[in-house]
Amino acid sequence: MFKLNLKIAFRNLLKHKTASLINISGLAIGLAASLLLLLYVQYQWSYDKQFGNSENTYHLMVNFYGTDKSITGTTPQVSNVLPLVLKEESPEIENISRVLWASRRLVANGQNSFKVEGRYADPDLLRIFKFDYLSGNPEKAFDDPNSIVLTETIAKRLFGTVDVLNKTVRFENQANLKVTAVIRDLPPNFTYGFECLTSWKLYENLNGWPAESNWGNYSFFTLLTLKNGTEPNAFNQKIKNTIARNTGTKTLEAAPFVYPLEKYHLYGHFTNGIADGGQIEQVRIFIIPALGILAIACINFMNLSTARSQKRAKEVGIRKTIGASRTSLIMQFLLESFILTIVSVVLAIVLVELFLPAFNGLLNTKLQISYDHPGNWLAVTGLILFTGLIAGSYPAFFLSSFNPVQALKKTIAFKSNFSLSFRQVLVIIQFGFAIVLIVATLILYQQLQYLKNRPLGYDSNALIEMPHEGNLYPKFDLFKDRLLNSGAVTALTQSSGSIAFQNSNTSGLEWHGMRDGDKKISFDLIQTTYDFLKTNNIRLIAGRDFSKGRASDSSALMLSETAVKQMGFKEPLGQQVLFNGKQRPVVGVFADVLWDEPTRTLHPMAIVFNAENSDVITMRLNTTRNVRESIDQITKITKELNPDFPVEIKFVDSLVAEKFEHEQMLSIISNLFAGLSIFVSCLGLFGLSAFSAEQRTKEIGIRKVLGATITGIITLLSVSFVKTVMIAMVLAMPIGYLIMNNWLMQFDYHISIGPAVFILTGVSSILIALFTVSWQAYRAAKSNPVDALKYE
């Protein structure tokens, strides 16, 4: 029976080509989306779990308390001394290691030099994570501070081989380090990934200041493992007062606690001390549309199967009279849906392979299908079972329920009102979902444009920056003169951070006439010397930029418009502001700069004169000259003055564009999913309209004989479908509005949703639906009535 049913299923598939095509393409798209989702979820799910013992690994965090003893903030970064104190005081801690944020570090083997992602960490890190060692001993790798652990790729790039133990690497042009271990490349879904690892001791030796205990500098990540049987909650209670006790504060201002590393990536965002999400939101954003499209495709299958039921009814009747039980019929119809699903899965895998690179680029992931992984096959089988059952169950139970006598007499009581309206309900669900996505897409697009049009406060065009490093420190003035004289740039400045994104802030400024609580105002902070406003083209509102002619300017400061407003200055120029224990005069007021995320409100900003703290050199290109030539010239001069470092020039406008990455990604994803869901929904509508036209052939023939026009018939056939889509619209638009309004509310700076979005959505979905059904209607209307009637 099974073999025969299989054969018949294939024959049916080939015989009803349109329906098969609609079902398979729809299901393939839905399944491809779901497969991508599975890959993505698996990728996110295995974050930080690759190196064993992950269930026992914790991230040290700190809660900050307000005056009313409620938690006001949570940070994953702690002071450099807290981990040391904890290790000393707590026998429960097995291993504990500080980890520095990853930065580009210069490594060199002779002339072969380049920058890699590097981190500093305590020796315990190699005990917390069981990396895969190609050579070296993790227990001894950091016995000597002048050691370095390399990944396979970097070892090969530096030396051309992985057999590099005890070879010497020149690090940051500052120290000669011995390679003590080579590990396999780290997976991309690892929060603390690196390409080279050096010891914390080296960090202290090279920089000095990190060696000094400082309870107030919350800058460093810390990972730890607890000994078996340690209850983390009890442990947290125990360490709660560590900071207060050591800093001598009477009230609890900051309390450390440990948080499972396994949850850190997906649920690492805290509000008022409670973990309320993180990357999991990104997973959710993806889950709903992916499953939605699969559901739409399943609905297509259900609708087309039941619509075709009158044809199948006869077969059901016959099979019942020759002895088929209902169960065997249900199995037969399920088999058909499974075959369709399997064909679609194969197609879906092809689709996934085709679009995976683009998808990876979009989400910044490195997903791939591993065909040799039995778990993946299990997941695909699960997906097939799920889809086949969802899509096939309704038709199977519906079709197998026919009474043979009625089915064979063709007068089958279809309970026509019910079954038709059930189909309509399903179509309403499909289009409702598609319409919500269209609304979301349009609003996302509007918001994105709105953000992009927000004034930056500086001119990011023709603005470039490079790291301030190596010989560029002692030779900065020479560098500046040579570049200005070359004509490649028109202005140049050094600063503590890039103008493109917020990288430093400070609080605790004091000034005359400040109110209670003003000390807590957080100021965006840029430290620089001369020509900062000129280079960045920031508008000066009052006063002047730091000027070389005035010696007192080397301890001066400038404020942004918002800062002046918040500080309550009527006459800001000449006011004294206490910063870092030094009274500084305000010499200038400048127009606001959008430094933080473009969705946030403007912060007050202070630009402070400080030649000692500089990481970035910013230059304005001479726009009258060829950009390529200017860049070449800048590269040449930089290389000449600072030969040990590669020249890394970045365009500020592309750095600014990165700030829109998240919104841009959401916009692309919603575009994609909205397009796919409307496409798959329309496939279904197309199939239903074809069926309806076919069913009403006789009626159309009679109407034409009686003198109906083609337009009249098209209207007759299309109107019910358009009505369905309109109901979907009425139901879906408020949902779309609520979801998107809710989404916009999380931003300080957002559009308000206007009626245009809904008008556009409404008109376009009706047009698309009308276009889809009217083609079938037109074909039916054009047919010769004699053909339709002669068989009767």
Binding site: M1, L4, I8, E315, I318, I322, G323, N403
Partner: protein, 229 residues
């Protein structure tokens, strides 16, 4: 073999009962060849459907081979007609997606007859009906008479004890119709298969051994046919 007692069938519509069958009481013995005749709407097909357990009587008693059909559950009933009843329809009702051989094989599959026996039975019956050459064709590639032959072959392959035929020749030309009726007669006489057919045609009815005349749901006449040898 079949005992009907006081069978009634009606549809209630807005409180008005419209009767299809009234007080039908009769019995059919093993080996009989019964024709049910009567004008359109007399209830012939309904009676046949009730005999074939495709429809349930509203009221009355039906015993098939000593078993009370009305009280049987679905599974038992399917079991009964898998093993004992073959249907032949006016519109043939072959499954369009199956070849001739597959159509004939289908009831055996539902009966869970083992593969080798299935093959031999199908081959045997194709041979008997002279259709070996057509075994791989689909129904729409055959003439009406050939399709009905397949229909009968399908009914016979499960070796039923009774064949229920609803106007088996209604869609056929007269020569083809005669062939079919000859076949029925042969099956009845040589293999002892009980046959109940619904027909409009006196000629067809003459092939049988007994005629039930139905009018407005009531058996008006029950006559034994004088066999013309």
């Amino acid at each position: 073999m079949i005992e009907l007692k006081n069978i009634e069938k009606y549809y209630a519509n807005k409180g008005v009962k419209s009767y299809i069958l009234r007080h039908v009481t009769t019995s059919i013995k093993q080996g009989e060849f019964v024709s049910i005749m009567g004008p359109s709407g007399a209830g012939k097909s309904t009676l046949l459907n009730i005999l074939g357990m495709l429809e349930e009587p509203t009221y009355g008693q039906y015993e098939f081979m000593g078993e009370d059909v009305v009280s049987l559950n679905e599974r038992k009933r399917i079991e009964l007609y898998r093993n004992h009843i073959g249907f032949v329809f006016q519109a043939y009702h072959l499954i369009d997606e199956m070849t001739v051989a597959e159509n004939i094989e289908a009831p055996l599959l539902y009966k869970k007859v083992p593969g080798s026996e299935r093959k031999s039975r199908v081959a045997d019956i194709l041979d008997r009906f002279n259709m070996v050459a057509k075994s791989d064709l689909f129904p729409n590639q055959l003439s009406g008479g050939q399709q009905q032959l397949v229909g009968i072959a399908r009914a016979l392959v499960a070796q039923p004890s009774i064949i229920l035929a609803d106007e088996p020749t209604g869609n056929l030309q007269s020569t083809q119709a005669l062939q079919i009726m000859d076949l029925f007669k042969k099956l009845n006489e040589e293999e002892g298969i009980t046959i109940v057919q619904v027909t409009h045609s006196e000629v067809n009815a003459a092939y049988g051994s007994r005629i039930l005349h139905l009018l407005d749901g009531v058996i008006k006449e029950d006559v034994v046919v004088q066999q013309t040898v």
